[in-house]
């Protein structure tokens, strides 16, 4: 299956290849946590993950073609 991971805000600089968008092709099924692991993105850099605009837990199982927006931690002021 194929999913796209999109690093928001300051997470973009720490995405694979330094580009905000990363396309991952892997055998499914795939949770968000597994996708992060395969992409080499620390789950601690992801405060929230949005799929189709909905906030999802990292245990959420992705569908083929999903785009996952990765929201980094917010700076507290």
């Amino acid at each position: 299956m194929r999913v796209v991971l999109v690093g928001m805000s300051h997470l973009a600089r720490y995405m694979p290849g330094g580009s905000p968008r990363f396309e991952l092709v892997a055998d499914g099924p795939l949770t968000i946590a597994q996708a992060l692991d395969l992409a080499g993105i620390s789950p601690q850099l992801v405060m929230a993950a949005l799929v189709d605009g909905q906030r999802r837990e990292k245990s959420f199982c992705l569908e083929d073609g999903a785009e996952v927006l990765l929201v980094p931690p917010l700076a507290g002021g």
Partner: protein, 616 residues
């Protein structure tokens, strides 16, 4: 000058004179505004070696060239002075509506000197400036005073006030505005208190010229639309900064029990979600804000206490009054927040000082006789009691009013090891024993231990928390970007929180000013300002240098005892490695002093006579 009101208002309280003067192009082009104006004006006009609380010590209130304009987050103003908390450069920026109103009234900045014989309210009503009797407000709370002045002067005045803590010169007294916005850090409230300025009220009806009005309007509209379209927008706005509380605990960086540890078991009871579910009334934003981080809350569930309202708590308050004092419910944290706001105390330093006092009490370094009762962590009554003692400077409160550094010097008994500060400014909400870039950010911030110059903890997480190598470059990069917002007079949170691109600001700046500055040009000016504030420290603080860039002993001698960062600490040799790399990249010597050559490169030749014998 486009982007500027074009005038600075000079106020001498001793003789009650006011003098508008034309804003110089040299100051505007070389230092932009906000903290840039503050740095230059304080360098030029602070009497060398003078007391921060002396009549001749100036207070600067400065907007920036983007303040008050049609663009996201253009409501930031800087309050600055030689800090009574640190003795060095001090500034604090504040949102709300004061920056815009000041420019509408025709002024980019205020320079306030002297000391009034009687309490005074400075009223700026367009071109008319007057001194009103401040006596009816003296002794009143900061929030109460603002409400009284709104009633007496008119709702359309924007008002900054101090509370009783500022009147009594508490070293971490803040300036309050808009019923919950503060210029919280570095004790500017005490400097205004020393001048007997209870409040500044501003109303204006003017306009701000821009170089290319049509293009600027289109760009401003585009920027708002771009903000609203950001995917992070829906994640950020419901919780504001409080939304980061769980994450900071998950990475083991939450100040807990006077920084004894870095994880608070009860963090979910004081986080953004709990705030939203239990006490939130409405979101509250500043001038031109598309992403309102203010959370206006109602407190009605605290036994024995009257219903009250507070803006907040935001993350820093949750960290320092919550985890650090072990207050376990969002209502308790919010109530302590309210007490600080009314007394005019910075919640960050206030939370640190109270936690320090609680640990001193546990260790027997201060007694129930000193405090007036037994006190303990996790007890709201203890926290409120100590805050009130401090604001009244009663009993041990008089010692604690100096901040943790001064209090530890007075109390002794090894308490300096757990007085959590750098340069005399208490530490904000990120425990950094397992976060070297964040640690370096605190060590080198140009006001003391504050996070807003460089928030680098995600860089630590991304690049390896166990390594100190290569961290300094990112810290320096952030120390130029983040404070640049404070010089421009705009909020950085749209960039920080929802990923609003920096390119927008680079594109907008020339449309406002007509100057062909590129983003690298602006960053270069930010670097110049950074070096100028370092020079201010060097000139004003005897023996200033590397020795004042270290954290207290607890943070480099004691491994974190629990939580996700358990066992980790950055020892002294690795702190030195961080500083060595940082100084070298900045072009400073091994003692952390800018070299003469570097200062000349940055166009700061004029500081060299004032630093004779201190730079090489």
């Amino acid at each position: 000058m486009n982007g500027y009101a074009g005038r600075i208002l000079r106020v001498d309280l001793t003789v009650r004179s006011v003098r508008p003067e034309e804003l110089s192009a040299e100051l505007a082009r070389g230092y932009l505004g906000g903290r840039g104006f503050a740095a230059k004006l304080l360098w030029d006009e602070s009497p060398t070696g003078g007391s921060p609380l002396a009549p001749e010590a100036p207070v600067i209130v400065a907007s920036g060239p983007l303040s008050g304009l049609f663009m996201p987050g253009s409501g930031k103003v800087t309050f600055a002075a030689k800090s009574p908390a640190t003795g060095g450069y001090g500034d604090s920026n504040m949102g709300g509506h004061l920056a815009a109103e000041l420019k509408f009234a025709g002024y980019d900045a205020l320079v306030i000197t002297g000391r009034s014989e009687q309490p005074v309210v400075l009223v700026i009503d367009g071109g008319k400036v007057s001194f009103r009797d401040g006596s009816p407000y003296w002794g009143k709370g900061a929030l109460e005073t603002e409400a009284m002045l709104k009633s007496n002067l008119g709702e359309d005045f924007q008002i900054a006030t101090i509370g009783p803590a500022g009147e009594r010169l508490v070293a971490f007294a803040c300036v309050s505005h808009d019923f919950g916005r503060q210029a919280g850090r570095t004790g500017i409230g005490a400097v205004l208190g020393s001048k007997r300025v209870k409040a500044i009220a501003v109303r204006g009806h003017g306009t701000i010229p821009v170089a290319k009005p049509a293009a600027f309007r289109d760009k401003g509209k585009e920027m708002f639309k771009a903000c609203f379209a950001k995917p992070g927008f829906k994640e950020w706005t419901p919780y504001g900064t409080a939304g980061v509380t769980d994450w900071v605990n998950e990475v083991g960086a939450f100040p807990t029990r006077n920084f004894q540890t870095a994880y608070f078991d009860g963090h979910r009871d004081i986080n953004g979600q709990t705030l939203k579910e239990r006490i939130l009334v409405t979101d509250k934003g500043c001038f031109a804000c598309p992403t309102p981080c203010g959370k206006y809350s109602r407190l009605e569930r605290i036994p024995g206490r009257a219903e009250t309202f507070v803006e907040g708590p935001e993350y820093e308050t949750i960290a320092l009054l919550g985890g650090n004092c072990l207050l376990g419910t969002i209502e308790e944290v919010a109530y302590a927040n309210y007490v600080c706001d009314e007394l005019g105390l910075d919640t960050i330093s206030g939370g640190n000082v109270v936690a320090f006092a609680l640990e001193c009490f546990e260790q027997g370094l201060i007694s129930a006789d000193d405090v007036g009762r037994k006190v303990r962590f996790g007890d709201l009554d203890s926290v409120v009691h100590l805050l009130k003692l401090i604001a009244a400077r009663r009993g041990i409160g008089d010692v604690l009013a100096r901040g943790v550094k001064g209090a530890a010097e007075a109390i002794g008994g090894g308490s300096e090891e757990f007085a959590i500060h750098v340069k005399g400014l208490e530490w904000s909400g990120y425990e950094a024993r397992y976060a070297p870039a964040m640690m370096l950010s605190y060590m080198t911030a140009d006001v003391g231990a504050h996070h807003n110059r460089s928030w680098a903890i995600t860089h630590d997480v991304a690049t390896g928390r166990g390594s100190v190598e290569g961290k300094a470059r990112r810290v320096i990069e952030l120390q130029h970007i983040r404070p640049l917002f404070d010089a421009l007079g705009v909020c950085r949170l749209q960039w920080v929180e929802i990923g609003f691109e920096l390119e927008h600001y680079a594109e907008l700046f020339p449309l406002v000013t007509g100057w062909d500055y590129t983003w690298p040009d602006l960053l270069r000016l930010s670097e110049r300002i950074w070096n100028l504030t370092r020079c201010f420290w060097l000139r004003e603080v005897p023996g200033f240098g590397r020795s004042m860039d270290y954290p207290p002993g607890r943070l480099y001698k004691e491994p974190v005892p629990s939580g996700p960062s358990q066992g980790h600490v950055i020892d002294r040799p690795r702190l030195d490695a961080l500083l060595d790399e940082y100084y070298a990249l900045r072009g400073w010597d091994a003692n952390g002093r800018p070299t003469a050559a570097r200062l000349r490169e940055l166009g700061l030749d004029f500081v060299l006579p004032g630093l004779k014998g201190k730079v090489s």
